[in-house]
């Protein structure tokens, strides 16, 4: 299935411009743009260039290692993988319901992660474009520039992130790659001291989160023409929703809506994910392209993450964030927004919800409880799904009688957004680059569209490709002495040129 601007008819005659590498995102992505002689855009692709092979090399490991190992998929959202793997392995150890303390510690860990990840993205990665302009001076367009021009904003961003990381440290044992969650529960609750320390700052954190929503709202409302149309990519959306249709990052059932907001499926047990989602492989990216099986490749692609979650759910169960959600929905006129820049507003609403939820959990005595783990009847398979900061995260494992992993399938949040990111950058390329001389600032417009999705590109790839290979022999002066090429079909011959 090939979309408009995905594959140019005659690429050999076109001029190539590359953004290598996309900056201010997690992971490695490269954008290539092919232009014709009139500078019209003929092809735009976001290539995910990483491969590590987690799904394969995790096989053969004892299943209790998995929640610790899979965190190394990503250093920004390791908690997501830690908990998704734990939820899958809860099923393997036969635990249907965690103890109240265990569930709340995991929730606290997860919402702490939401807070720090969203703060990192907004303040450290995205804010330079939003505060200075997409084609502002490149050397200033970073957190250092923000710290110089808006020191209080930068300081708050740092402290919001710090608080989230401290919540993670208290619940997981370390800020990055902790060990607090295990199959069947957790291995540590909060101490009274840890709880008191976090309670000291939480009200300030809620207040600053609320201010962050006002900040992005102001930026959005000051420039509605830009924010409502930049990189528009209308699509279906998907997320987990809680029991009553409310927003829930930790657990729920799958709900999908179409571009107009109508429900496509709802209340789906996520253990059946493979019946609803398939993945397409394209030759030019290591990241796959998921779509809803029932709707086919052309119409079945979808967005996940804050823009999907805030619009997918019926309400947010904390009052300040719920008020912001209503304001956002009213602003959109009761129809779903498909504007990538609206991700920033909805991301800050989620950050506020995370802060409020952390406050509620800190007041709950269960988090200093001592009943941490349950056991049950051993099973051979488990699926764990969670809403990571960037979207729906799916972990699926099979385990044999020797307790070793025999199968691992991961669909990572950013993967779901693969087609949407490509659509967004094609939209931006046509609108801003067509017929014009390409400048660094214009290329940054493409990156701005990608950054809206807060992609986690390390997470999103697991596989690799067989490459054509060219070998050049250069003399000491750099002149080419000889060159051979192994072509894509495996044959070897003289390299051209």
């Amino acid at each position: 299935m090939s979309y408009h601007l995905e594959t140019a008819a005659q690429p050999a005659n076109l001029r190539r411009v590359a953004i290598d590498t996309v900056s201010r995102v997690e992971g490695h992505g490269k954008v290539t743009i092919l232009l014709d002689a009139q500078n019209q855009v003929r092809q735009v692709r976001l290539h995910i260039v990483e491969f590590r092979g987690f799904e394969r090399f995790i096989q053969g490991r004892p299943f209790w290692e998995v929640p610790v190992m899979v965190q190394r998929l990503c250093g920004i959202c390791p908690v997501s993988h830690h908990l998704a793997a734990s939820k899958a392995l809860d099923q393997v150890v036969g635990v249907k319901h965690l103890t109240p303390t265990a569930e709340k510690i995991r929730r606290l860990m997860h919402y702490g992660q939401m807070l720090q990840s969203h703060a990192l993205h907004f303040f450290y990665l995205a804010s330079p474009d939003l505060l200075f302009g997409f084609d502002s001076e490149a050397s200033r367009r970073n957190i250092v520039g923000v710290a110089a021009a808006h020191p209080e904003t930068a300081r708050r961003g740092v402290l919001l992130r710090k608080f989230g990381q401290e919540v993670i440290r208290a619940t997981a044992g370390k800020r990055v790659h902790g060990t607090g969650s295990i199959p069947g529960g957790v291995n540590k609750a909060l101490t009274q001291e840890e709880r008191a320390l976090l309670l000291q700052d939480i009200y300030q954190i809620v207040g600053w989160s609320r201010d962050a929503v006002q900040l992005i709202k102001q930026l959005h409302l000051q420039n509605p023409a830009l924010y409502n149309s930049f990189g528009i990519c209308r699509s279906n959306t998907m997320s987990l929703v809680g029991q009553d249709g409310g927003m829930d990052f930790y657990h729920g059932r799958l709900r999908a809506r179409d571009g107009s907001g109508g429900v496509l499926f709802d209340g789906v047990d996520y253990r059946d994910y493979s019946r609803h989602i398939q993945e397409e492989v394209k030759p030019w990216s290591y990241m796959k392209f998921p779509f809803f099986t029932a709707f086919g490749k052309k119409n079945g692609w979808y967005k996940v993450g804050p823009l999907a979650r805030v619009q997918n759910c019926d309400q947010i169960p904390t009052p300040l964030a719920e008020a912001e959600r209503r304001e956002f929905v009213d602003y959109c006129g009761g129809v779903p927004s498909h504007a990538p820049l609206a991700y920033h507003w909805t991301r800050m609403i989620e950050m506020l919800h995370a802060a409020e939820t952390i406050k509620d959990l800190l007041h709950d005595d269960d988090i200093v409880g001592s009943d941490l783990v349950r056991t049950g009847e051993r099973a051979m398979e488990g699926v764990g799904v969670i809403e990571a900061p960037r979207g729906t995260l799916i972990h699926h494992y099979r385990v044999d009688e020797d307790d070793l992993v025999t199968m691992c399938n991961l669909i990572v949040s950013t993967t779901h957004n693969n087609q949407a990111m490509n659509e967004a950058i094609r939209n931006v390329a046509r609108r801003y680059l067509d017929g014009r001389e390409i400048t660094e600032g214009l290329l940054n417009h493409i990156e701005v569209a990608i950054r809206c999705f807060d992609p986690c590109l390390s997470c999103a790839t697991h596989a690799l490709g067989q490459m054509p290979l060219a070998v050049e022999l250069l003399d000491a002066g750099g002149a080419r002495v000889h060159a051979l090429a192994r072509n894509g079909d495996g044959s070897i011959g003289e390299a051209p040129g």
């Binding site: 491969f51 092979g53 399938n409 596989a463 490459m467 054509p468």
Partner: protein
């Protein structure tokens, strides 16, 4: 303004085949970042929009070598940086991604792109824009000389801070008990 303005130390960072955990741990210096910015300026890093590294005093690299592009970037960093630091398990010994070293690439390729659960089509990505993978994941010091190694997965923020403060202060970096950890 003081005529003899102290020139800032120029620092570049990158993640090769890393998870960004070491960069996250670096940012876990929290507000000390603002103190650091009095002493250093950033060249190419994931946080800035400089795409190609220029001449730098210090280069910090997390992640091991998984593809040809990683090797190219590593060599650029060595060429341009006076001091090169390998940070984290992946850069130092290959780390978790090196778990694939006992497996064959064609095997992994087959499994992930042909027989995996839920695939609509089976085909192995092979566009020339994708970097050539290495048959084995390697650590940095097998390709270039590395000046310092900060261990951990990731190293604690305090270890990164201590190392930087030592180097910026003209001292040989030393991590004491509590700052050297491997997990």
């Amino acid at each position: 303004m003081d005529a003899a303005v102290h020139k800032k130390v120029r620092v570049a960072t990158t993640s090769l085949a890393g998870c960004f955990g070491c960069h996250t741990s670096f940012l876990d210096i929290d507000e000390r970042l603002f103190d650091l910015l009095e002493l250093v300026e950033f060249d190419r890093t994931p946080l800035t929009d400089i795409k190609e590294i220029g001449r730098c005093d210090i280069g910090i690299i997390e992640g091991g070598l998984c593809n040809a592009e990683n090797v190219h970037v590593l060599r650029e960093f060595r060429r341009q940086c006076r001091i090169l630091i390998a940070i984290g398990a992946c850069a130092i010994n290959g780390g978790l991604p090196a778990q694939r070293n006992h497996l064959s690439l064609p095997l992994i390729l087959e499994e992930v792109y042909h027989t995996s659960v839920g695939l609509a089509n089976g085909l192995i990505p092979n566009d020339p824009e994708l970097p050539l993978p290495l048959s084995k994941v390697r650590p940095l010091h097998e390709v270039v000389k590395v000046d310092y190694f900060i261990p951990g997965c990731p190293p604690p923020a305090d270890a990164i801070w201590k190392s930087l403060m030592d180097i910026l202060g003209g001292r040989e970096p030393a991590l004491g008990h509590g700052l050297i950890q491997y997990d």
